[in-house]
């Protein structure tokens, strides 16, 4: 894709956070670890942007503070921030985050992926699509689309 086709030619870059420091409690098999926001963030921060050779973390599309984990009710909520308010890739990015979490987490979790309020022109429509599990299921049976999502999710 040439530069002329890019919607956001010169996105602002952000620093990547350091790797998580593993504590001795976490290494112990005798201690039960709950899922935490950092763990979920680590699953999605390496997802590639569909347009740029950059990760969602580097573009500040996902942030650890916008990940919410409720272990008691088995709920995980991720808010993501498209780089520009008319980003046509927003649904694809949301779908990639959702697919990565569906593949990585135990099925007991109810996963909610939404646009950070006020950061996209079609926020409500995209949120509704991402929340519709039937549409998501049908989309994931589309080989072209799943190949595209896999390209985003794959970690080099």
């Amino acid at each position: 894709m040439g530069f002329d086709d890019l919607e956001n030619i010169n996105p602002k870059l952000y620093r990547k956070c350091n790797d998580r420091e593993v504590t001795t409690e976490e290494e112990s098999d005798d201690i039960y670890d709950e899922f935490d926001a950092r763990e979920i963030f680590d699953l999605i921060r390496g997802i590639n942007d569909p347009e740029h050779p950059l990760t969602l973390e580097e573009l500040n599309v996902v942030k650890q503070n916008d990940v919410c984990v409720d272990n008691k009710n088995n709920e995980i909520k991720v808010l993501f921030t498209p780089t520009i308010p008319h980003c046509s890739m927003a649904t694809l990015i949301g779908l990639s985050i959702r697919v990565q979490l569906l593949r990585s987490l135990p099925p007991r979790f109810k996963i909610c992926v939404q646009i950070y309020p006020g950061t996209h022109a079609s926020e409500e429509a995209i949120n509704k699509q991402l929340a519709d599990k039937e549409r998501v299921a049908a989309a994931l049976e589309n080989n072209d689309l799943i190949a595209c999502i896999n390209d985003c999710i794959v970690v080099d």
């Binding site: 347009e51 099925p107 689309l145």
Partner: protein, 380 residues
């Protein structure tokens, strides 16, 4: 990249077509607030659901279950592209048949014809399969094509002479059945978004549909010119209407939605004594009751038993709930009470519920956890 963008654009409608502001996904719970009076329950207003049997076999999500009209066979379908038929042997239900090779993608719904000789299947592969048992075992005898993409629901009319299908392509199709031939009689484009479910009236050739556009609609044939027309639009839900069910008389309809509510709608014919205006002499359907505050996630299916009048709901919070109209309920402002909640009925979303047409209180459910379960409702 260009290939995938266009693929995506056709999978998800261009955003300019999506009407904004109709729903508010960030504030869904606020719409659920409604008056519901808590009162002490009387005798017979509590019950329980006992698990009879777990039917394992499907690989992946089970989307739907449907009882044979005689109640002696259950059909189930799902992500694994198969239809499983479960028969009762002694006291146990066993999987006797697995129907494969009908569809290329997920089978979203199965429906028995009222005569019980045919089975129809709606698939994400954009086709509808028709199965019959003339050769001794169920074979797919027809594959109905026409929808542009995923077929989400299929239903036979009571007479067996009409079949209806609906799809993400926003259309509802009516097919005429003439000696094993299926001819498209109408394509209804009344909904503005994908259509999730179609259900026929229990006695008449009236069709009800539920949609992602937050409405339900009713259709019937205009005898003057053989044209199918929309005779009512039921607007009140604030998000996707996933499913709907008629009561035994066909004068009430229950709808369930992503907005976490169930709504009961009542038919008012022209010249009704309540003085409700009926434009063009078509019946008017009014929302007479909203059940809110019970479900904590999207409600994917609802079944209204024509024998016991019990309502069962399948919810994304993994629970099955049973409701019934209170005995002291008023016809035009009815009260429905929650009789039982089976929390963790499944370990994931419950996608479908179906009351057995001949055994009172026998309920089947299907879930994302890959299992079908059979339940018996008992009054306490």
């Amino acid at each position: 990249m260009h290939v995938c963008v266009s693929t995506f654009a056709c999978l998800y409608y261009s955003l300019s077509n999506v009407s904004l502001g109709v729903y508010q996904p960030c504030l869904p719970r606020l719409h659920c607030v409604c008056v519901f009076v808590t009162r002490l329950k009387k005798k017979g207003e509590m019950g329980k659901l006992d698990l009879i049997q777990t039917l394992s076999g499907h690989e992946g999500r089970v989307w739907n279950v449907c009882w044979h009209p005689q109640g002696n066979t259950l059909a189930s379908c799902g992500e694994d592209k198969t239809i499983r038929l479960w028969f009762k042997e002694g006291s146990k239900w066993v999987n006797k048949d697995i129907l494969t090779e009908g569809h290329q993608r997920t089978i979203r719904e199965v429906a028995w014809s009222s005569c019980g000789n045919y089975l129809a299947s709606a698939s994400f592969d954009a086709t509808t399969g028709i199965w019959d048992k003339k050769g001794g075992q169920f074979d797919c005898i027809s594959s109905l094509e026409g929808h542009e993409n995923e077929v989400k629901s299929v239903a036979w009319s009571k007479s067996g002479q009409l079949l209806s299908t609906c799809s993400r392509d926003k259309s509802v199709w009516i097919w005429e059945v003439i000696e094993d031939e299926y001819e498209c009689a109408a394509v209804l484009n009344a909904h503005t978004q994908d259509v999730k479910k179609v259900v026929w009236h229990p006695h008449l050739d009236i069709l009800a549909s539920a949609s992602y556009d937050n409405t339900a609609k009713l259709f019937k044939e205009d005898v003057a010119d053989n044209d199918w027309i929309c005779i009512a639009t039921l607007s009140s839900h604030t998000s996707t209407v996933w499913s709907l069910a008629f009561d035994h008389s066909g004068t009430r309809l229950a709808t369930c939605s992503d907005d976490c509510t169930v709504k009961i709608w009542q038919e008012y014919l022209s010249n009704n004594s309540e003085g409700i205006v009926t434009p063009d002499n078509n019946p008017v359907w009014k929302c007479v009751c909203t059940l809110s505050g019970y479900h904590t996630r999207a409600i994917y299916d609802i079944s209204w038993c024509h024998k016991t009048h019990l309502l069962a709901t399948a919810c994304g919070d993994d629970a099955i709930r049973i409701f019934k109209e209170a005995e002291d309920s008023e016809k035009h402002t009815p009260t429905f009470i929650l009789l039982a909640t089976c929390a963790n009925a499944h370990t994931q979303d419950v996608n479908a519920v179906a009351w057995n047409p001949s055994v009172p209180g026998l309920l089947a459910s299907a879930s994302d956890d890959g299992e079908v379960k059979l339940w018996q409702y008992e009054d306490n």
